[in-house]
């Protein structure tokens, strides 16, 4: 076993373990622990990229994903301010067990196929000509602004759509200032709880449903 292989198994195993920890209890029970597991998994992935000679990608993985994106994730989780009863594990049902078995079957199948198909695969010799700049910043930048210019520009549209969409769904009220106060959005958790408490006068600790449009229900009685 070469050093590269040993490193690969350490990094790959670490990435898989961190991903599993993200979803499974005990760490997976709390969103913030899941987020931290995800960061750990990103670091292992960055190591794998570096192992594949994609140094820039590895660095970007840490700076952009483990750094910026994950900080945003954790901020969002903190801002959501989840109460303990909202993070409780759901009950295990027959359907979920069946889904788990099927998922395990699919994962097993994929692993088997990958294992069978990759038997005998050979490593690329990066010493041969044509590979001198492989994975370098210059090479990646060159690709990005020549043969991948169109997708690169399209991504900007995608990001714009995502930003506009997020603002629309998350904004407290879309109505303009001189319009009357709209009913609370179901995304607006804090507002929704206040609303419920003022209506009922009591504190329903276990009741997390936001009030919703009365129309849908009122209309069903027509």
């Amino acid at each position: 076993m070469t050093t590269e292989q040993i490193l690969f198994y350490i990094l790959g195993g670490g990435a898989v373990a961190a991903s599993a920890a993200m979803l499974l209890p005990p760490l997976g029970k709390s969103p913030i622990h899941s987020a931290i597991s995800l960061i750990v998994s990103f670091f292992f992935l960055a190591g794998l990229y570096a192992l594949l000679s994609a140094h820039l990608l590895g660095a970007l993985q840490i700076i952009v994903y483990a750094g910026a994106v994950m900080v945003l994730f954790t901020f969002v989780i903190m801002l959501l301010n989840l109460r303990p009863d909202e993070t409780q594990e759901p009950r295990i049902t027959a359907g979920k067990v069946l889904a788990g078995v099927l998922a395990a079957f699919v994962v097993g199948k994929v692993v088997t196929v990958v294992g069978l198909a990759s038997a005998g695969a050979k490593a690329v010799d990066l010493a041969q000509p044509g590979y001198e700049n492989f994975g370098s910043t210059k090479e990646v930048g060159y690709m990005l602004y020549t043969s991948f210019l169109v997708p690169f520009e399209l991504i900007s549209v995608l990001l714009l759509v995502a930003a506009v969409g997020a603002v629309i769904l998350a904004k407290k009220s879309l109505h303009y200032v001189d319009r009357p106060e709209p009913p609370p959005s179901v995304f607006d958790q804090e507002h929704a709880h206040e609303h419920m408490h003022t209506q009922s006068g009591t504190d329903h600790a276990g009741d997390t449903h936001a009030p919703h449009d009365a129309n849908a229900h009122a209309a069903s009685h027509h």
Partner: protein
């Protein structure tokens, strides 16, 4: 360069519409009603359709700059589907303003997102590489998720958006996973590179290819709402604002099938895939039959028209999927218009127009924030609002495949093609016919609600709006006129279908590649050999 940009003009027009709406809307006085963005959007979409038509007529469909040619095409197939999705956007722009205002959510961003979704669809169907396809798909999907959840005060709408979002994300992840394997096999992401890598079967390729194909096709089954990935559709259609549901069932389906055809017959068309051909068409055909049956049977017991149409959309995905599978290439462009490959594009036009007509007509009951479209809401529609009742009925008849509507010829053409594809598809064709008969029951049931059920004591109010009337009339007229004189559209669909068939496509694309002086980079080619076992 300029030539290529001219070929992209439909997309540029749609993107301009989106950006213009986004930029101008905040500067308008707050008191100004935003419903004028609807007709404006229809004009923009109409301009995109005209640009597509001009490109179609001009006949020069090849990108010249390598950077463009590798990722986007303006082939007849792309143009056909771009025009179709732009028409969907046009009709949705016309049918939305009154409905969204009544639901108290008529904001400028709604129309901007409609433009963005149409732009994403145009990118998807024009994509010549997996990466462009994926970005187009995501632009479309993100816009449509938000459109589905746009009525934020309604739990149903938010549920629709959330379900669609979660299911769609899983599908995207699957697609990416499949694409990663395809990239590993081909060493490149463009359809041409994939096709070249699959020209000759190599030992050990089967397993990788099988995995890649299963994952990619699974993701497409998700997007078109086919069994076993169909469960999100009825909830999403039921909860989404009615015009958006129409756009989802028409535009999204058209774009997804356009992209699926290109992936199936432009990318995965090499000789290596033939070893899988023993199982892949059979598998997809089975899924197609199960999809149509499940969709139709489940629709029988529903009580909400939008939910019925959600299941009907599943059934139609089954019909179309069978059309895609049975699209066996026969080589060479036939000059007769009855060549293979016309059925799916042709059927999609009929289906999209009928869906848009039906959902536009259903949206008239959305007065005062009303969201339900059950028997109670629809009873008496035929008497009190004859136009809406008539358009609804016409659309439903077209979906059921009753002559002389466009839906009838679509089914006829589809059936014809399935039967021509080979004897192994005879049972599938029989099931398709039986399914159409079953479907007629629930389509006609909605008609019964509209015309024959007691109206109740309350005098119901309907949305009556000029642009909505335009939308309904245009869709209904198109269904009738093209249904009576279908040959021109059928010829166009045959041209579109012909543009993708493997032999033709391969020769065409190889030639294009040579002309463009585009070769797979050395690094990629060597990487391919390393991945493949010897």
């Amino acid at each position: 360069m300029l030539h290529d940009i001219a070929l992209l003009s439909p997309m540029i027009i749609l993107l301009f519409g989106a950006l213009f709406t986004l930029v101008v809307d905040p500067f308008l006085p707050t008191a100004t009603p935003r419903r004028f963005w609807g007709p404006f959007g229809a004009l923009i979409s109409g301009a995109a359709v005209l640009a597509t038509a001009a490109l179609w007529v001009s006949g020069n469909h090849e990108m010249q700059t390598p950077a463009f040619a590798a990722h986007l095409s303006a082939s007849r197939l792309s143009l056909f589907f771009t025009a179709l999705t732009a028409v969907c956007a046009l009709l949705t722009h016309l049918s939305s303003p009154a409905f969204m205002d009544e639901q108290d959510h008529g904001f400028g961003e709604f129309y901007a997102l409609l433009h963005f979704a149409a732009f994403g669809m145009a990118v998807m169907v024009a994509a010549e590489s997996l990466i462009t396809l994926f970005i187009g798909l995501e632009i479309m999907s993100l816009s449509v998720y938000v459109l589905a959840a746009f009525k934020r005060t309604s739990l149903a709408s938010v549920e629709a958006g959330l379900k669609y979002f979660i299911m769609g994300s899983v599908a995207s992840a699957m697609l990416l996973y499949g694409m990663a394997f395809l990239y590993g096999i081909a060493g490149g992401t463009t359809y041409v590179e994939i096709q070249r890598a699959l020209v000759v079967p190599k030992p050990g390729l089967d397993l990788w290819l099988g995995l890649a194909v299963v994952l990619t096709m699974g993701a497409f089954l998700f997007k078109v709402a086919a069994v076993p990935f169909h469960m999100w559709a009825p909830d999403a259609y039921e909860g989404a604002p009615t015009p958006v549901a129409g756009f989802m069932s028409a535009g999204v389906k058209a774009a997804a099938f356009g992209a699926l055809l290109k992936v199936l017959y432009a990318a995965l068309a090499g000789g290596a895939i033939d070893s899988l051909h023993l199982s892949m068409p059979k598998m997809l055909a089975t899924f197609a039959v199960v999809t149509m049956t499940v969709g139709n049977i489940a629709a029988l017991r529903q009580t909400n028209a939008k939910r019925i149409l959600g299941f009907s959309a599943i059934a139609h995905a089954g019909y179309l999927l069978l059309g895609c599978v049975a699209w066996v290439p026969d080589g060479g462009l036939g000059d007769h218009y009855h060549v293979a490959g016309a059925a799916v594009p042709f059927y999609l036009v009929g289906y999209a127009l009928a869906s848009l007509a039906v959902f536009a007509a259903l949206s008239v009951v959305g007065k005062g924030g009303q969201e339900l479209t059950g028997q109670a809401q629809l009873a008496g529609l035929g008497r009190r609002y004859p136009l809406a009742g008539a358009v609804l009925t016409l659309g439903l008849l077209s979906l059921a495949g009753v002559p002389p509507t466009l839906g009838f010829f679509g089914k006829l053409e589809l059936l014809h093609e399935v039967l021509r594809a080979g004897d192994q598809y005879v049972p599938h064709a029989v099931l398709l016919v039986l399914n159409s008969v079953v479907a007629a029951y629930y389509y006609l049931r909605i008609t019964v609600w509209v015309y024959m059920k007691p109206e109740g004591k309350v005098e119901r109010e309907y949305i009556r709006d000029r642009s909505l009337t335009w939308s309904m009339s245009l869709a209904a007229l198109a269904i009738l006129c093209v249904g009576i004189l279908p040959s021109r559209l059928m010829r166009m669909a045959a041209f579109a279908g012909g543009a993708v068939r493997p032999q033709v496509a391969r020769a065409h694309l190889d030639h294009q590649l040579e002309v463009a002086g585009l070769k797979p980079p050395v690094v990629k080619a060597a990487a391919t050999e390393a991945v493949l076992p010897r």
